[in-house]
């Protein structure tokens, strides 16, 4: 289970504190680095504070105040490279689909299998790192080009 978990930095956002706590414990046990937030606003604050570290955001769709979809939009606006996995209690896939349209990486139905969550987070992180790598490469090339000139 902890085969691939090279210390991925995850931000867990859900208004159910008990749920967040347990998931945190379980993910930590699987060598993830976890930050938590209990509302959309808090999540944004956390990202602003130490945004660079966070790689994947696991975001509950249904939250009081700023809900998951709004938060997602905000995250994608400010931190386009961060991958977001939507957690939904709805059987209605519609909100999840909407999330996907707005740039979420994937969605999960609550309650979810830990293995599902882990694999999705891993894949999200992988994608993120891949992205970043490309971004870095692109920059490097640009840099080298400018240097060569």
């Amino acid at each position: 289970m902890n085969e691939l978990a090279p210390d991925i930095n995850v931000l867990l956002v859900d208004d159910e504190i008990a749920f967040v706590e347990t998931i945190t414990k379980r993910l930590k046990k699987r060598h993830f680095i976890i930050q938590t937030a209990h509302s959309g606003m808090e999540a944004m604050e956390k990202l602003e504070e130490n945004g660079n570290a966070t790689e994947v955001v696991v975001l509950d769709v249904k939250m009081p105040g700023m809900d998951g979809i709004e938060t997602l939009a905000e995250i994608k606006r400010k931190f386009p490279l961060k991958e977001v996995i939507m957690l939904t209690g709805h059987a209605t896939v519609s909100s999840a689909i909407e999330g996907m349209k707005k740039g979420a990486f994937d969605y999960l139905l609550k309650p979810c299998e830990m293995s599902d969550l882990v694999s999705k987070v891993n894949r999200a992180a992988e994608k993120k790192r891949e992205h970043e790598k490309r971004v870095v490469e692109a920059r490097m090339q640009e840099l080298m080009r400018t240097k060569a000139q």
């Binding site: 159910e16 008990a18 749920f19 347990t22 998931i23 414990k25 379980r26 046990k29 249904k62 209690g89 709805h90 059987a91 209605t92 896939v93 519609s94 139905l109 609550k110 309650p111 979810c112 830990m114």
Partner: protein
């Protein structure tokens, strides 16, 4: 749900009666009113017309007869004045005068005679050998001697058949003598007998002793009292014709009498006619009116019956429809509120369940630690945690299904070919059906319209229905018939099985969430609720008919639009994850 309770029946009966009565009364009132007024006026004016006509008729004849009598009298008077006794006593002369009279006036005068004051007929001209006849004791002679002119009643006299005498008195040598003429009865009779109207109207003349002065077919012997009364009455009007309607004592028949006096009140001309005959026109009109009225009444009553029955039939139908509609509204409201409640519960339960599952997961994570590996109950812990997780996931399934029952439309709509879709879903069951010894028969209507709906949802509905049918037939085997067709502006999919059927009491509840007949853990009781919810959202409906021992028939109605095949999708998409929900 047709309402045939006794209460309803009496209500509709009363209603029918009321409508019937109203129609009859409203139709009859004007008919009776108008008919009555017209008949009344007709009768009044017609009988007035008849009466005045008859009075005029009798008056004219009275006048004619009086004229006739006066003329005859004048003839004789003239003779008596023009010639003296010796001249008149000459029979040849008398015969000559008779001939002149007869020539002038026809056969009216049958003879002439001169009678001296002793009643001895001194001269005679005529057909009867009456010379020297002595009239001294004759009633007419005695009366004639007292008056200057005299007309006798009709009598038989010496000659033996009816006649009457017109006499004029004169004087010769201080003695009265009488010139008399006999008026032929037949000739006089003709004047009166000509008055004939209708079948029974005829006239006759009687004297004051109620003796007939003319010939008549009527038998008047028994009605003498009546005639006396009439004549007395006629005196009050100075002899002018007067009409009266009296009942004949003879035969109890109502007759119409017109009486006028003649011959200075000595005679009376009586016109007599049966009332029914005189007013035949009125009676005929009455009959026609009665027939028309009866026919009208029959027509009105028949129509009222038909109209009232038909109206009440319509009302009952409308009531039934309303009732059914009400029940449908109640039903769908009930299901809608149930759905909302279910959704609420599902939401609320989902989170605690998620936490429980996660906690269980955390414990099993911890059990992985070295220190617990040695624990003797490790396996027990793990089984127990596995069970918690499994049941938690079961809860999740239930809540998810509940939510899908309650959800608003959220899946994507597309153009669907019904037959292809049905075919596809049925294909999924071919294996299962074979094992259960069930034959699935499909009957597709050729020209099914395209449907704009969520394919996944429709598949789910169909899947649930077929799955239920299969469950019903699992023990016994049997046949499932799936038909497509069109009804009004709806596409219809029918799923019919010949299983054990659903008892009536349960039929009302089958669309309720959590209603199930399957053993605990086998079914959630949400399948049909979901079908209901899906179709409701589409604007369609689902109906069920079932008879115990015969089978169950579900009909799914889906509104269709006649769009072209433009974006028809292949039915095969998404079928795998379409449905895992069964009833």
């Amino acid at each position: 749900m047709p309402s045939n309770t006794a209460e309803d029946k009496t209500y509709y009966k009363t209603l029918t009666r009321k409508i019937f009565t109203t129609v009859v009364v409203v139709s009859f009132m004007p008919m009776i009113f108008v008919g009555g007024i017209i008949l009344y006026h007709f009768q009044t004016s017609y009988s007035a017309k008849v009466c005045s006509y008859l009075e005029a008729l009798v008056n004219r004849h009275r006048h004619d007869i009086d004229m006739f009598l006066t003329e005859r009298q004048n003839n004789i008077h003239f003779l008596a004045e023009c010639y003296d006794y010796p001249a008149l006593s000459d029979e040849a002369f008398l015969q000559e005068k008779l001939d002149i009279l007869r020539k002038e006036y026809g056969e009216v005068f049958s003879d002439l005679g001169v009678v001296d004051h002793n009643g001895h007929q001194t001269a005679y001209a005529g057909a009867f050998r009456l010379e020297n006849a002595n009239y001294a004791s004759a009633e007419w002679f005695q009366k004639a001697m007292r008056e200057q002119f005299f007309i006798s009643d009709v009598f038989m006299g010496l000659r033996g058949f009816p006649h009457f005498i017109v006499a004029a008195r004169n004087e010769w040598n201080g003695n009265h003598y009488i010139l008399r003429a006999t008026v032929d009865f037949q000739a006089f009779n003709r004047v009166v007998r000509n008055i004939r109207i209708g079948e029974t109207g005829s006239a006759f003349i009687i004297n004051r002793k109620n003796e007939l002065q003319t010939d008549t077919s009527l038998d008047i012997s028994e009605d003498s009292e009546l005639y006396r009364g009439l004549i007395n009455q006629a005196f009050d009007t100075q002899g002018k014709a007067k009409i009266s309607v009296l009942e004949s004592p003879k035969n109890r028949k109502r007759n119409l009498y017109v009486t006028g006096l003649l011959n200075n009140g000595n005679w009376a001309l009586i016109y007599q006619q049966d009332v029914g005959d005189a007013f035949a026109e009125i009676y005929r009109t009455w009959w026609i009116a009665l027939i028309v009225f009866t026919a009208g009444a029959v027509a009105i009553i028949t129509m009222a019956m038909i109209v009232s029955r038909r109206t009440v039939g319509r009302i009952a139908e409308a009531d039934n429809e309303k009732e059914m509609m009400n029940q449908q509204v109640i039903e769908s409201n009930r299901l809608a509120s149930l759905g909302e409640m279910a959704a609420g519960i599902a939401h609320e339960i989902n989170n605690p369940v998620a936490i429980m599952v996660e906690e269980a997961g955390w414990i099993s994570d911890l059990l992985e630690e070295e220190e617990f590996k040695e624990s003797e109950n490790l396996e027990e812990f793990q089984t127990s945690l596995g069970q918690i997780k499994k049941q938690g996931l079961r809860c999740r399934d239930i809540t998810h299904k509940l939510l899908s029952f309650a959800r608003r439309s959220e899946s994507q709509k597309q153009i669907i070919k019904i037959n292809a879709m049905v075919e596809e879903v049925v294909g999924l069951f071919s294996h299962q059906a074979k094992y259960s010894n069930v034959r699935i028969v499909t009957k597709f209507a050729e020209d099914m319209p395209y449907i704009h709906a969520s394919q996944t949802e429709l598949q789910q509905v169909l899947f649930n229905l077929i799955n239920n049918a299969l469950d019903a037939l699992r023990a016994t085997g049997g046949k499932i018939v799936i038909m497509t067709g069109c009804e009004d502006d709806m596409a219809v999919i029918e799923v019919k099985d010949n299983g054990p059927g659903i008892p009536r009491a349960e039929l009302a509840k089958i669309f309720d969430p959590f209603y199930t007949t399957k053993p605990v853990g086998k079914g959630t009781g949400l399948g049909l609720s979901i079908c209901y919810g899906i179709l409701n959202n589409m604007g369609g409906k689902i109906t069920v008919a079932s008879s115990v021992g015969i089978g169950t028939n579900f009909r799914v109605f889906i509104p269709h639009q006649d769009s072209g095949p433009g974006t028809v999708s292949d039915a095969s998409s998404a079928i795998g994850n379409a449905v895992t929900l069964t009833h």
